[in-house]
Symmetry: C2
Subunit: 188 residues, 2 copies
DNA sequence: TATTGTTATACTCTATAACTATA
DNA sequence: TATAGTTATAGAGTATAACAATA
């Protein structure tokens, strides 16, 4: 939060650049010998091209997901909750008494990280952790009344976020997208 | 890489849990008073439900993107390159002489992070950084011959990754997806 | 004064390994 | 021996602020 001291700043100027700070890769070519080619340098003031990326569906997916998370995060910020925390609340709500490992597997996240996440939710009084009477290795998770109430207030925000996505890409594309991506919901 | 010492391990058992290590949230309720409800605890051996998440397109998008990145990362691991590094190589290839700020804006990543990323690519001899003769604040970036060659070898791997996505969701859904997501390519 | 690129810093995720208690 | 949960740790990625050089 409080920056102590700042960098010293370097610029493209005359002095040669060092390699990356990690120096995990060697640098072979001496810099000066080939620094004399900017004659054909076009400063790219014209619209930039994405190159192969524009043909790669994975890249479109990534951009779309970033947009959605930014939008959704904006909605969630009023509740001081992250998308990941929201997803865990949803799963506990839909499966009262679920244990942590089952959540981790369903959401494809790591046990270790999930433990800390649930720590946080429990600390905020949204989730109740109970030792299972049947198998004492398990925690058994429930939403508290406060957790249920919060989820109820978040639900409209989540729906609103989805609506903005639909507005951005159009209702037809939205329906197609939902159908095309449904595969990723019903498996590991 | 080398773990010094490991955790001490805790279990759901009898002793009360502490709050999260950060303790940024208080814990109000005493644990023992409400630990007596596991009578109706169903250990959730039945298939779990995603709850609201299954209706949230943003979640499907996230899962799809994770799948694609895992797949693509597997392809790229042979070249010791990350998806982010690959995207920068693509942009430099498509726009020789581009500067770093333009790349950062096009890909929606931060200048600071991009600097280190380019450091790494330059250290590996894939990218050449030249001070612009026109505006000495600029770096002017080109692929080296080695960078061009590497990109040429990666291209089929990227195409293969896309093909696997098409195989997973089906060719029709693939085409719909491409159309539905094209919006996210042509803007900031 | 604004812009490009840098460094430093902090925070969040993620991934892995080791450990305890339980089964 | 295997499993649920934990801790410690390291590595990425991200975000921000301050700085030098240049415009």
């Amino acid at each position: 939060m409080e920056p102590k001291k700042a960098g010293v700043g370097k610029r493209p100027g005359d002095r040669p650049r060092r390699a990356g700070r990690a120096a995990k890769s060697s640098r072979q070519q001496p810099r000066a010998t080939q620094a004399d080619k900017p004659a054909r340098a076009k400063p790219a003031a014209s619209p930039l091209a994405l190159g192969d990326l524009s043909q790669l569906l994975g890249y479109s997916l990534r951009r779309a997901q970033l947009w959605v998370f930014r939008e959704f995060g904006r909605q969630l910020s009023a509740f001081d909750i992250s998308p990941a925390q929201f997803s865990v609340l949803c799963v506990i709500d839909a499966n009262p008494g679920v244990n942590q490992l089952a959540i981790a597997q369903l959401l494809s996240i790591e046990r270790a990280g999930l433990g800390r996440l649930v720590d946080h939710l429990e600390g905020r009084g949204l989730v109740r952790r109970t030792a299972s009477a049947i198998n004492r290795r398990y925690y058994v998770l429930y939403l508290t009344d406060e957790g249920t109430a919060l989820l109820g207030r978040i639900r409209p925000a989540a729906a609103e976020s989805d609506k903005r996505l639909a507005a951005k890409i159009g209702p037809h594309a939205y329906r197609e997208l939902r159908r095309a991506l449904s595969v990723f919901l019903q498996e590991t």
